[in-house]
Symmetry: C2
Subunit: 288 residues, 2 copies
């Protein structure tokens, strides 16, 4: 009998996503040493002080040396370059994986640099908060969350199986799906809602009919509703740029529904309005 265990894990980018995986694997007792790799020394020192990682380095080559698993948790647009720079220093049979919110763009950026004796398992844990940095990390972030893996033709089955176990051990439900499906599903359930929230806050914030900030009248509903509009602008710029086609398709789908609703409001179509709201409430209540 073999038991899942990672002797050395390198987490590149020790923020909410990377730090939480480190903490969760430590809590599960399935990792030996975790090295945190990053550019900013203050954040790395915070991670070390909080016990998120066991050692830190700003030297990527040093950090990934001898690592069994390298988890890339830097912004999506940086992943190709980070993988390229890490590649010569990986040990044979190392698994490189990531937590990027889009997958085709990440695969396109990483696979050209991939060594034949290194495994790449593209991954995306669907979890997060609007907070960032090492101090935002917590061990239970991934519990009862989906984690999607999108192996390519080059990904070995055994490496996929290892990553499946890793995510299951931190409490996630692992789903394996084609990369195109991942990018379209995420455009619908995550990227579109963020675009809607950002546009809503800007539209309301720009309403200048009165000489005061009308956002101050907003109650809990608006605050909850727009929480995701506080997410990191750099991260969301990258996601919007790297999942462009699927996102534009979903934005158009939303526009169609919103225009239909606006017309029903303008015409005072009471039965159609009730049905529109009823249908939405039903869908929403089903996922509670």
């Amino acid at each position: 009998m073999k038991t899942f265990y990672i002797d050395k894990l390198a987490v590149v980018g020790v923020g909410l996503i990377g730090g939480s995986l480190a903490l969760a694997l430590k809590e599960a007792g399935v990792v030996g040493h975790v090295v945190g790799v990053g550019r900013g020394l203050p954040n790395l020192q915070t991670a070390l002080r909080l016990g998120v990682v066991d050692s830190i380095t700003q030297d990527l080559a040093e950090g990934v040396t001898d690592a069994d698993v390298v988890f890339l948790a830097t912004p999506v647009q940086s992943l190709g370059l980070v993988a390229k720079e890490a590649m010569p220093h990986l040990k044979p049979s190392a698994i490189i994986t990531d937590g990027g919110s889009v997958k085709q763009a990440v695969i396109d950026a990483i696979e050209p640099h991939l060594r034949d004796d290194v495994h790449f398992v593209p991954g995306h844990p669907i979890a997060g908060t609007e907070n960032s940095g090492a101090e935002a990390a917590f061990a239970t972030l991934y519990r009862e969350r989906r984690c999607i893996l999108t192996p390519t033709e080059r990904t070995a089955d055994a490496a996929v199986e290892s990553m499946r176990q890793m995510w299951q051990l931190v409490g996630s439900q692992v789903v394996i799906m084609p990369v195109e499906k991942h990018d379209r599903v995420l455009a619908a359930i995550s990227h579109l809602p963020h675009m809607v929230a950002y546009a809503l806050v800007n539209a309301v914030g720009a309403y200048d009919r009165y000489d005061e900030n009308i956002l101050e009248y907003s109650a809990g509903g608006f605050r909850d509703f727009t929480r995701i509009a506080s997410s990191d602008p750099t991260m969301w710029r990258d996601i919007a740029l790297t999942n462009r086609d699927a996102l534009v398709e979903m934005m158009e789908q939303f526009e169609t529904f919103f225009a239909e609703l606006k017309e029903d409001v303008a015409l005072g179509s009471d039965e159609r309005l009730f049905e529109f709201f009823r249908r939405s409430k039903q869908s929403r209540d089903e996922i509670l």
Copy 2:
């Protein structure tokens, strides 16, 4: 010295809004007897059992007789008829007020029936949850919330002052503003966000490229974001119908911002996207 006190309060419609005001006034010790008036006996019995009200009746005339304050908390579209039927039974100098989410339509529906010796103070406590019914009521709903009063030319100052005190005593910050401003501000910060949430859930729910319910992949962000799409369809149909002009104006403002964002995504305008998201995050963080 006089102390604010309501000998008899009639709450017409003992749901979240009406029931919570009753509970809050009782907790503040500034009400003698609360009678709950409604059409549905089971909900009234629940209100009585939970101590939300002291007595119940399905007879509007009986309920409002001798009441110092009558709080109308039935759906917006019903307020005119309820006020009309209650009017002959109100005692002289009684104050009739309401909690409707739109104000001009309510004023237009109530004022034609108003007796000269009765005061009407249109009001709107900006508070709520997605739950409804007497069992959803709780005494702290209005704490640290805004309550907007929109007196008309016919509203006596003393009656406005009484209602200001009442809402302050349950913890609200009272703002008095012109009715047109109320309806436009609420269209922006509340009615528009609900339309956006309803349209979003329907757009994503209708995405049928895959033979499964992709909403099941959604994580906390989507669930929080769409919570308000679980609100009561009847209530929101009424709000959409009665605040039509202001709402359509805000929906158009939102469409303009969303179209701009979609174009920036389609064109891959990285600096414009970053600036759009940064501006939104800044506005959102300011109201935290």
